[in-house]
């Protein structure tokens, strides 16, 4: 691990709610459902999703394209597209977000939530220096002067591992490599010392050695700043490396969730099991991979029962086809959407 110039100070924490009970989740969502009106009818992007994340913890949301993993956090933070209808409860630092008027919600989000998206280039404004972009949040939400904010930006760039931060603060995004840009985006996300960091596939566009750097960086920042992290990814390897708890999504619903060790040691939903099994590993060299047939369902055309049923290697019975299986506990904190908990073959 690299030497770093110590933990940044936490200036101007004005306006933040009083320090909370550490057992209280930073973000908790309950029964979140997102329906998006499209020209081919309503698409149920997210249905009945519950989870929460505590300070200093990382929740990994895993799923394929169209599984609803990104829409879940967008809707939870009030960033869902206009055409989306969001129901359910979302509590950020104990405040119910869904009933707040948009300006207040925007302020809460800006102050307490940092975002890191997949493509660092589109997250940055090409005509502003990175120092300016990092300091913007500090000025806006922490009420710093321009000079203070600039000092803070240099500090943050140093924190995320940008070499010679004082000089680099005056550079423009195109003068940075992909990995360095993503560090800048992380610095921006951290500028208001958010209680929650939402990272939506932050390493997918990066090379594997750069990915390793970013994974380490976020883990380190989380430890030192006590930030709660929601990490959205499709890479099970990344999940194993970053997560404390994991929620596997398929067809807009959680199919399995629990502590990361439990889910990887005893994957209990056929989808989770199949995903883990389909990863190429040395044991399979030269042999067929146990692939899942077919393609993920479209949110426009979801099966009546279990969304995974058409591709399920186990294929329970008619009940799976027509009825939605409940999310049932199989171990403490470990829940699986199935009619047949504990049955390996079902």
């Amino acid at each position: 691990m690299r030497e770093r110039s110590g933990r940044p100070t936490r200036p101007g924490h004005a306006g933040a709610p009083a320090r909370r009970d550490p057992a209280e989740p930073v973000l908790a969502i309950e029964d979140l459902t997102v329906t998006i009106g499209t020209r081919r009818g309503p698409a149920r992007a997210v249905a009945g999703v519950d989870w929460s994340v505590r300070a200093g913890q990382t929740l990994a949301l895993v799923g394929e394209s169209g599984s609803g993993k990104s829409m879940t956090v967008l809707a939870a933070t009030g960033l869902a597209p206009r055409a989306a209808r969001v129901t359910g409860r979302v509590r950020l630092l104990g405040e119910e977000l869904t009933v707040l008027p948009e300006p207040r919600r925007r302020r809460l989000r800006g102050r307490h939530v940092g975002f890191v998206f997949q493509d660092p280039m589109t997250s940055l404004n090409p005509v502003l220096t990175v120092g300016r972009q990092v300091s913007e949040g500090c000025e806006e939400h922490l009420g710093m002067t321009r000079r203070q904010a600039r000092e803070r930006a240099v500090e943050l760039l140093d924190l995320v591992g940008i070499p010679s931060p004082r000089r680099r603060a005056d550079a423009y995004p195109h003068q940075f490599s992909g990995g360095m840009r993503q560090r800048v985006v992380i610095a921006m996300a951290l500028s208001c010392e958010p209680d929650l960091l939402i990272a939506d596939e932050p390493t997918t566009a990066l090379d594997v050695t750069t990915q390793a750097q970013i994974v380490e960086l976020v883990a380190d920042l989380r430890r030192r700043l006590g930030t709660a992290v929601v990490w959205i990814t499709h890479d099970l390897g990344v999940v194993a490396g970053v997560a404390d708890t994991v929620a596997v999504m398929y067809g807009g619903r959680i199919v399995e969730q629990g502590p990361v060790d439990a889910v990887f040691a005893a994957p209990s939903h056929p989808y989770t099991r199949a995903l883990l099994a389909a990863r190429p590993d040395p044991a399979h060299r030269g042999r067929e991979l146990p692939a899942i047939q077919g393609a993920p369902p479209s949110p426009l055309d979801l099966p009546a029962g279990c969304a995974f049923w058409p591709r399920c290697p186990v294929r329970g019975d008619a009940r799976c086809e027509h009825e939605l299986p409940p999310l049932v506990p199989v171990a403490p904190g470990h829940r699986v959407r199935t009619f047949y908990p504990g049955r390996e073959d079902a």
Binding site: G179, T209, L236, G237, R285, E288, I292
Partner: protein, 344 residues
């Protein structure tokens, strides 16, 4: 379309000798995308080419079809030196070497039907005499890649990502090529679909005796599909060998670092292993470091690494590495005390 029994394994299908592909930059030094690469693809094998962005792996693949112009070196296909072939002559070459692209959505013309896309090589190379023969062959090709023949009338946007990539593979098969360059064929597919495509590629190779150059950044996929692997860094091949050799006993520090960066889908392993985290970024290919190109990021760099440009030397039977301290450096990196790297 079966492998010719008369041609045994080991025969060279395509070969690059000291290939350089430099792209001119107005008012600057040229970008040395590929800077002295030699490799040989043998009939019936899968040669995996791994590297990160900017390593030159894709440009190397394009050079085999002469889709980029070599600055220096030789491209040989089926024993013929095609380095200086005219545009017209190259069109024939491109029947023998086919390509599958990363993004199946982008690599299919959105305005043409699936059937028209798959049939294009047949039309271009006059491989089917009549429209009916063409249709039959398209149906055959689609079924070969696991698609229903009636998808021929559809447009790409009506298919899923996995289906589109199957179409891309069917198109590559149409000319019965000697070599297929697979440029990141699974990278933009859904997780649950990647394994399907890997199985398809393997099955086709087994049934049709195909030869693949499999270009990818996903080391696990490369290990799974390849018979031999070449690792590229900054326009050079730094190590070659069998997957067992490279993944078991990597000799080049970069290979070791790359392997250590791959996340393993097991939280217990992840929690306890020490990654070799490389510091900094890949240097600019317009201005590569002197001596060993990896030395600026190498945790085991020694002073003389800046002076001598290491050649690929054999470190074990069939395994070669371009490092003066091959093996030794990796052992030092993996040793408990040195694992953290020198830091910055």
């Amino acid at each position: 379309m079966t492998a010719d029994a008369a041609i045994g394994p080991g025969e060279t299908v395509a070969e690059l000798a000291d290939l350089k592909v430099w792209f001119p930059v107005p008012g600057g030094a040229p970008v040395r995308a590929v800077d002295g690469v030699s490799l040989r693809v043998r009939r019936g094998e899968t040669l995996g080419l791994v590297g990160e962005s900017g390593s030159g792996k894709s440009t190397t693949g394009l050079a085999l079809l002469r889709l980029v112009d070599p600055t220096a070196g030789v491209v040989r296909v089926d024993g013929q030196d095609v380095t200086r072939w005219s545009r017209r002559r190259l069109r024939g070459l491109r029947r023998r070497v086919a390509m599958v692209f990363q993004d199946p959505q982008a690599s299919l013309d959105p305005r043409r039907t699936i059937g028209a896309s798959v049939a294009e090589p047949l039309v271009v190379h006059r491989l089917a005499d009549t429209a009916a023969a063409r249709r039959r062959r398209v149906a055959e090709l689609l079924e070969m890649v696991g698609l229903r023949a009636d998808l021929a009338d559809r447009h790409p946007h009506e298919l899923s990502g996995g289906q589109r990539q199957r179409v891309g593979i069917a198109r590559a098969l149409a000319g019965e090529p000697d070599l297929i360059v697979l440029d990141e064929p699974i990278a933009s597919l859904d997780l649950s679909v990647q394994a399907q495509i890997m199985n398809l590629l393997r099955g086709l190779q087994r049934d049709l005796g195909l030869t693949y150059l499999f270009i990818a950044h996903d080391l696990a996929a490369v290990e799974h599909l390849s018979d031999r692997v070449a690792v590229m860094y900054l326009g050079r091949i730094v190590e070659t060998g069998t997957p067992e050799q490279l993944y078991g006993e990597p000799a080049h520090p970069y290979t070791a670092a790359l392997l250590s960066a791959i996340p393993v889908a097991d939280p217990r392993v992840e929690r306890h292993r020490r990654r070799i985290i490389l510091s900094g970024d890949v240097p600019s290919p317009a201005d590569p470091p002197s001596g060993c190109r990896f030395r600026t990021r190498c945790p085991q760099a020694r002073p003389d690494c800046a002076e001598v440009d290491p050649a690929l030397v054999e470190v074990a039977a069939g395994q070669r590495a371009a490092c003066r301290y091959a093996g030794e450096a990796v052992r030092a990196m993996r040793a408990p005390t040195a694992g953290e790297g020198p830091g910055r």
